[in-house]
Subunit: 300 residues, 2 copies
């Protein structure tokens, strides 16, 4: 297996002021041999093909209840959280995200080391891993706004300096995700391509982009191509389910005018060999609570 | 059957600066006897219960093709339409709605007099009817924004002076409506209640409300009550289908980040006995292209 991320070479140039372009992915999707998988080979095949996987009833009802209670606690007692780590909706005071939850909360710290979860993530990345980012996403009823289509990797590469595609995200729904409350949507197979985005990165872009993303978003033409080829899949699920997805899978969600909030835990595991260097945008690094850079604690 | 709209009495007060309140509907939902129905009594029962009805394959493929072609023509040749009648998205130049399409287009004029359609509408309203409003709604892919929950009647009552609930809307999808492209959503049974909204009506409110509605929207508490009791239903359908709904049924739609646009024709038929008087807001009437007031042409 080739390691592509030596010498800080930019293997996935984006936002360099050039027209948008689509590249093939250079990196593997699964870094271990299939024979070592802790889940069935059918599921791994599906993950490789689509770039994401939904596993129902992964967590026990007791585990989910403890995660839900912790969410309620954090939302009500938001004064216990460093203000900077709380992102609010673009047009209201309502909470959209809380960052670094594995540091803030003992319950979520324990979750981040969940045995079955780690065994799966380690299989996918085949390396020692650390938590690159963690957050609680809260899409309130009535006024929850959309998250536009994006590849997380594009942002982490350009704005944080993540060299290669060797990171996995997990999303754990804490409320029922229906078609009506703006569920997570994926473009299957989009992880095999990299859309180089147009434009540049505004300074301190993250302060706005966490509310509403305007840069680092794929262009209409390439997005249409991917959607026409592969369609869109909505992640309709009940609490207890685990959603795993590759760092480069294009995802987004529509607004939520239903009365039902859509909350989920989001943790990103990165390979130790893939830790961030200088941002490829050439700008200053984003804060530690968004991108673990200094305090890397490997999860063995 | 009592006629409630004599003497311009305000039977459904709203936006009078008082706290929000929920009332029972005073008016009938279906004004004819069931025995006169041109469709099955099961369907009429459903309409009475839910406040809306979806009838698949109501229009022939040829009819739908002609409506779609006319849409393409109007979108491309928007210079043929009086600028005032074109409403654009809040943050872009893209078209959101074109008003008075039954006047602008021969194809849509013919559609507005479609025999089977009129027989159904006349049955529901049991009176001579006229077109109160018509429009083309175009929710573009990627950037189509949500339409927040509302009762059309609340707006037509307060801002136009429509006395009673004796109007029916029809929506004709011109593109496939999926869960991903922001389909029309209804709260079943909501037509039996009237939510009196808080606040007042800003002057010339319509100029903004047609882009994004901020006044005349139901409050969270009463909306939650209705949704908890009745749920939400998304209108997933193919072109050819007809959606009929009572003027007071609460509806809305989420944003559309999919690549697929969601377009539909929207026509409102009103009973001649229910024609508008002075707006109950006490303000000036809205323009004729939004609310037919002067040029009432009964469809016999």
């Amino acid at each position: 297996m080739t390691l592509n991320y030596i010498d800080n070479k930019d293997l996935y140039p984006s936002r360099k002021g050039k027209p948008p372009k689509i590249y093939d992915r250079i990196d593997p999707v699964v870094y271990s041999n299939d024979s070592e998988s802790p889940i069935s080979s059918q599921l791994i095949k599906k993950y490789k093909k689509n770039g994401y996987l939904k596993i129902d009833n992964f967590f026990s009802p007791e585990e989910i209840t403890s995660y839900q209670k912790e969410l309620e606690y954090l939302l009500k007692a938001d004064y216990v959280v460093d203000k900077e780590k709380i992102i609010r909706e673009p047009n209201s005071h309502e909470i959209r995200s809380i960052f670094q939850i594995h540091q803030i909360s003992k319950v979520y710290k324990k979750l981040s080391k969940h045995k079955d979860l780690l065994s799966l993530v380690k299989f996918l990345l085949n390396d020692n891993i650390y938590i690159f980012q963690s957050r609680l996403n809260f899409k309130p009823g009535f006024r929850g706004k959309e998250f536009y289509w994006h590849s997380d990797f594009e942002t982490w590469h350009v704005e944080d300096g993540m060299p290669s595609m060797r990171a996995v995200s997990i999303s754990i729904p804490l409320t029922t995700n229906t078609y009506e409350n703006g569920p997570l949507m994926f473009i299957p197979g989009s992880h095999k391509k990299f859309i180089s985005c147009q434009g540049f990165t505004p300074i301190n872009h993250f302060r706005r982009s966490l509310k509403q993303q305007n840069f680092g978003v794929p262009d209409d033409l390439h997005l249409s191509e991917l959607i026409n080829q592969n369609g869109i899949e909505s992640m309709i699920c009940e609490p207890g389910c685990l959603i795993l997805f590759d760092c480069n899978t294009i995802h987004g969600s529509n607004s939520n005018i239903s009365s039902f909030s859509r909350s989920n835990i989001f943790i990103v595991y990165n390979s130790i060999k893939n830790k961030v260097s200088q941002p490829y945008s050439g700008q200053s690094p984003r804060p530690e609570y968004i991108c673990t850079r200094k305090k890397i604690e490997p999860i063995i």
